[in-house]
């Protein structure tokens, strides 16, 4: 090949680079390893992490069983190694699955339209806030303190350089639910959005309808976010919200130390033009058959550039496909049964603990150890091969001494009994 270019060495291919830009040495990275050495190194790193027999840690990242079909499908090279489906004629596979994904997200959330995915739940929240600002022409965002603390931190980072003011409102110290009076006191004619999470960070189920009424009374939009998607199998969809965003990690996406996950963004039809991210639409091909393509792209950065709704480009397509396969495998009956198992297990566990809040809960519960600290309780659990809960004091100083525990279909009764014993109910 070099000869056909009239060159004698590969070095002549980049001889035109200014000398001072060339690295005059080899990169200081070990010589290449064989496949076995690589697999072995990562296996050893996996073993350097503690292996637990059971985990009660949730807080935005949940341990749910991953049906085998999920990896079978996403390992197909036709999905795994394809590009963003701009060339519709040779991307109908990806486009069809995204259309199905958008449909299922709408069915779950009670919204009219959903996009093809966001990076994750934490980045979907600020995108929803910005969207609400564009719709209302207002710049004040009210976010519940019971929204995932890291989601709120990402929102705060976004607010740094946008014309966005973020203010927080609290939760009832007994119920763990949004403090409606506290929210009402902060609502004003400047409020673009009220952002709540349900189930909230403490696992409690919010009253979406009442929150929507309150937000709408002041001309603000209600953004409902979720971190535990399995709850949607059993909980009323937040149809009264204007925008729903959230995290699909629970749908067969490995915890994987926090990513890659898949974010959701869905809204009422009338706000469609302000939604960020890719959308797949139905159309016809030249033979008149149903076909799908990316559509309404004029909202996006590659066309509108500095006036785009967002700079998002790459999203989480393959991870969204995992969630799509998960929703297909469980289906109408299975998602409900799965959610019911989670609820039943959490109620069993919660019934044996000193619960911190009175609000109805789904599969997470805040509880207080009878004696000792959260760290001590977790150390006792770790000694018995169990990963305990989150110390709420990490994010809520006023809740220090309390632990957030999660129960899913993967937690067995005898493990919950050990937790109850250690927590000393």
């Amino acid at each position: 090949m070099l000869a056909s270019l009239g060159l004698s060495s590969t070095a002549s291919l980049y001889a035109h680079l200014p000398g001072e830009a060339l690295l005059g040495r080899e990169l200081a990275i070990e010589p290449g390893w064989s496949e076995y050495e690589i697999v072995d190194w990562f296996r050893a790193r996996g073993e350097a992490n503690t292996h637990f027999k059971a985990s009660f840690l949730g807080a935005g990242v949940y341990a749910h069983y991953r049906p085998v079909l999920v990896d079978t499908v996403v390992s197909r090279g036709e999905f795994l190694t394809s590009y963003t489906p701009y060339q519709a004629e040779i991307a109908q596979g990806t486009l069809t699955t995204i259309f199905e994904f958008q449909t299922m997200v709408c069915q779950l959330t009670g919204m009219d339209v959903a996009n093809a995915s966001m990076y994750d739940g934490s980045t979907a929240v600020p995108e929803a806030a910005l969207m609400a600002m564009r719709i209302t022409g207002r710049d004040h965002v009210l976010v519940a303190r019971s929204v995932h603390p890291e989601y709120r931190q990402v929102l705060a980072t976004n607010a740094r350089n946008q014309e966005m003011t973020v203010d927080e409102f609290g939760y009832g110290p007994a119920s763990g639910l949004v403090d409606l009076a506290g929210l009402e006191a902060k609502l004003s004619a400047k409020t673009a959005a009220v952002i709540v999470q349900s189930p909230n960070f403490f696992g409690c189920v919010e009253q979406v309808r009442a929150l929507a009424e309150l937000a709408h009374k002041h001309g603000a939009l209600l953004v409902v976010c979720f971190a535990e998607a399995v709850s949607l199998g059993l909980l009323r969809p937040p149809s009264e919200a204007d925008i729903v965003c959230g995290e699909l990690q629970s749908f067969a996406i490995s915890p994987s130390f926090g990513g890659p996950f898949a974010g959701v963004m869905a809204c009422k039809e009338k706000y469609l033009r302000q939604m960020p991210g890719r959308l797949v639409g139905q159309t016809v091909d030249a033979n008149g058959n149903r076909a799908f393509c990316l559509t309404l792209s004029t909202r996006e950065q590659h066309i509108r550039r500095e006036r785009a709704t967002s700079n998002i480009c790459t999203n989480q397509a393959l991870v969204a496909l995992m969630a799509t396969v998960f929703m297909t495998v469980y289906g109408k009956e299975g998602l409900r049964e799965l959610a019911l198992q989670n609820l039943s297990k959490a109620r069993y566990l919660g019934g044996k603990l000193r619960r911190r809040f009175t609000g109805a809960y789904f599969n997470e519960v805040a509880a207080t150890p009878a004696k000792g600290t959260v760290a001590e309780a977790n150390a006792k659990l770790a000694a018995r091969g169990i990963l305990g809960g989150l110390d709420l004091g990490r994010f809520y100083p006023e809740l220090s001494g309390n632990m957030l525990l999660c129960a899913t279909e993967m937690n067995k009764r005898e493990q919950m009994d050990i937790v109850a014993e250690v927590m000393g109910a």
Partner: protein, 126 residues
């Protein structure tokens, strides 16, 4: 397509038809042809004040967005709702049924800055 004599034209390819103190605004046949199939039109609501030369909205094809610049100053009195469900009207009848907004003229003397049909045709031909 012919460029009607009774319209006044801008360099940004909008037109205005003046009847009394009302101006009807649209984009030219040349503009719609350059844009290709128009899929969406974003227009101001009635009551919005617009200023000559400033953006009053946008038209979109599948892969492009173009601002519409107001040919005259005034206040929007009517919006062509038909374009919401049938944006293709802009391609089909740019100088008639594809009108965008009607405005109550705010500064009639601005009209002298606009081109006649003959001037516009020379402008796009050149």
């Amino acid at each position: 397509m012919a460029y009607p004599e009774n319209l006044r034209y801008t360099k940004e390819h909008e037109w205005v038809l003046v009847e009394g103190d009302t101006g009807t605004i649209g984009i030219t046949d040349h503009a719609q042809s350059e844009l290709g199939d128009i899929v969406y039109v974003d227009l101001p609501s009635a009551g919005t004040k617009i200023a000559q030369g400033a953006s009053l909205g946008s038209v979109e094809s599948v892969k492009a967005v173009s601002d519409i610049f107001a040919p005259v100053t005034g206040e929007v009195t009517a919006v062509n709702e038909a374009l919401t469900s049938n944006p293709e009207k802009l391609n089909q009848e740019p100088h008639g049924g594809g009108w965008l907004v009607k405005v109550k003229l705010g500064a009639p003397d601005e009209l002298s800055k606009l081109m006649s049909a003959a001037e516009y045709q020379a402008y796009i031909g050149g």
